[in-house]
């Protein structure tokens, strides 16, 4: 059990590092071909993206388009790119039927010019799979704690 958690923690810390460094192609390599990425709305954190309006609900096609956009200097919301720092903790992982289910807490500070600091906190939920011995992300969900997006504004970077 704790061996699995340590393995998952190493994986999440590595992923956080790639995202905070904007190494987005390397991050893409952590995903399965059918990976999905979700940010549910603050008022329906357990909603289903097919029946509830999300903040982000990317299938694998749109997720790859999102990376193309984020790397483009014309992605004005992220140009110059935000400086982000995420701290991940309270990692819980369990494995069943070839999938690893993960829950972890996060705090993310996003800095922009002019002393603009926006803090995001919440829970990550993952479905991970093993492909050729390596962990891969099949689904990634960032669930925000706040009652509303409010001062956080946009989720224009990868949360």
């Amino acid at each position: 059990m704790s061996a699995l958690r340590m393995e998952v923690e190493d994986f999440l810390f590595h992923e956080a590092d790639l995202l905070d460094r904007w190494q987005l192609d390397d991050w893409l390599a952590l995903l399965t071909d059918d990976a999905a990425y979700f940010v549910p709305p603050n008022d329906k954190p357990d909603g289903n993206h097919n029946t509830t309006l999300f903040i982000v609900a990317d299938d694998s096609v749109r997720l790859r388009e999102r990376i193309i956009r984020l790397k483009d200097p014309s992605c004005h919301a992220e140009w110059p790119p935000s400086r982000t720092r995420r701290i991940i903790g309270n990692v819980k992982a369990s494995e069943a039927d070839g999938e690893i289910t993960v829950r972890a807490n996060f705090t993310l500070n996003r800095h922009r010019r002019g002393g603009d600091l926006r803090t995001f906190s919440g829970e990550y939920r993952y479905r991970l799979r093993r492909e050729n011995g390596a962990l891969k992300i099949a689904e990634r969900r960032a669930i925000l704690d706040a009652e509303e997006l409010g001062h956080m504004g946009s989720v224009s970077f990868l949360l």
Partner: protein, 442 residues
């Protein structure tokens, strides 16, 4: 020290309060329309907007579908006031101040739900869903002259709806909502015609986010098609990469040539031939091959119900509609209802929802929500760049003394009937209305 303060004070008086007739300048001879940037940063002007615009105009409070059953309620801030929007136990829609008549505390602190009544946690007064006072501990202490009937929640002086869009007005003498909406009704009708039964609903899930910019900038931005090729070039690339034809005809800034329209009373809209796909009912490759037949069926239903011409109007045109002052209905990639309220001159709170026909199948609803997020919302492929643009503009306005004017003159040399969506004629109609209201009150 005192002298410096006095000097600064004098300067503030001389410079900060321009005469209201100088906030919006229109020179028809020079084809020039200018808005002073002070209107985006002045506390005094915002105070006047609260007093005039948000107190005498019809302000959107919610959609009937959000409170389907007796006892259903939503609490939200409307025109700066905490409100309860609910359906009472007899089925009547209510808009009441969420303010205890006793000592002013909120009587409902939940976002939404179904209630048999409302309860003030401060001193325990309870209210029926129609707002009347039901009970309270020890009310006998107020003596025999206590009039229970006059101690209910305060109802909005006016509450009216058009096709299930509910608005309130704090001016008891305001014109009817129907008269107020004027030409905007025609465009709301086009939106609602997407439903076979004429019933649209707000979809579950709320996007609530702040923009560090003046609220009027979102009015402009919501209908400004001039910015799309620049601000949203990554969205255009996304559409192109997905197989949508985004080529622009010669002389056009967008894949189709649209119009900007004045709908009266400060309402305005874009009215554009579709190029970006519509869940009802124009297929684009983003929806996937498997959706083609379904979209054809949706269109066939429109034609059978509305006839060929009206079906084409509904299915083949897009509109971004502003209901003065602060409601936007964008009927493009999907339908969004977007409401926004100032907090301070440089900060607004935005709430947006998805709207769809009640009859939609789960696959159709999923397609609508997927299409919504191609463009709209704080995680969409376009809205965050709008937010960045508005915040960048707001930053610039700090230099209003040296760089005082926003220019909204595009297309002004042409007649009102010839205004393109990429011109600024429709945006000028907002400013004219804003100016009229603010000056009348001066």
């Amino acid at each position: 020290m005192e002298a410096i303060m006095a000097e600064n004070k004098g300067r503030t008086k001389g410079e900060t309060m321009r005469n209201s007739s100088e906030w919006v300048l229109e020179d028809r001879g020079a084809d020039q329309f200018l808005v002073n940037r002070q209107v985006f940063i002045s506390d005094d002007i915002l105070q006047k907007e609260w007093d005039v615009i948000f107190r005498t105009c019809w302000i959107y409070i919610g959609h009937g579908s959000e409170i389907r059953n007796p006892g259903d309620f939503r609490t939200r801030k409307v025109a700066g006031r905490q409100m309860i929007f609910c359906r009472d136990k007899d089925g009547a829609v209510r808009a009441m101040l969420n303010v205890c008549p006793h000592r002013g505390a909120l009587v409902c602190r939940e976002r939404e739900g179904n209630a048999r009544g409302f309860f003030c946690m401060y001193h325990g007064w309870t209210f029926q869903t129609d707002g009347s006072l039901r009970s309270g501990p020890g009310l006998d202490a107020y003596g025999p002259k206590f009039d229970k009937a006059s101690h209910g929640l305060v109802q909005a002086p006016r509450l009216e709806h058009y096709r299930d869009f509910y608005f309130i007005n704090f001016d008891p003498n305001a014109v009817s909502l129907s008269d107020y909406l004027a030409g905007a009704k025609e465009y709301i009708d086009i939106v609602v015609d997407q439903s076979p039964s004429g019933q649209m609903e707000i979809v579950s899930g709320t996007q609530e986010y702040d923009i560090k910019a003046n609220w009027k900038l979102l009015v402009e931005n919501s209908v400004d098609d001039y910015h799309i090729i620049t601000t949203h070039s990554t969205w255009i690339n996304y559409m192109s990469n997905s197989g949508v034809d985004m080529r622009r005809p010669k002389g056009s800034l967008l894949p189709s040539l649209g119009a900007g329209k004045n709908l009266g009373n400060g309402h305005l809209t874009t009215d554009n031939p579709n190029y970006r796909g519509r869940p009802v009912a124009r297929w684009i490759s983003v929806y996937g091959e498997e959706a083609k037949e379904d979209i054809d069926n949706i269109r066939a239903e429109l034609v059978a119900r509305l006839g060929e011409a009206r079906a084409a109007r509904v299915a083949d045109t897009n509109r971004n509609l502003v209901i003065f002052p602060n409601l936007v209905i964008n009927d493009g990639s999907s339908v969004t209802v977007r409401n926004f309220t100032p907090v301070s001159p440089g900060l607004m709170k935005v709430t947006s929802w998805a709207l769809g026909p009640v009859e939609e199948t789960e696959a159709q609803r999923a397609r609508r929500l997927h299409a919504f997020l191609t463009f709209y919302g704080p995680g969409g492929f376009a809205t965050p760049d709008d937010v960045a643009a508005l915040e960048a503009a707001q930053e610039g306005y700090a230099a209003w003394r040296e760089a005082p004017w926003n220019d909204l003159s595009r297309g002004m040399y042409k007649s009102e009937d010839d205004q393109l969506d990429t011109d600024e004629g429709h945006i000028r109609t907002f400013w004219r209305r804003w100016k009229d209201l603010m000056e009348t009150a001066a």
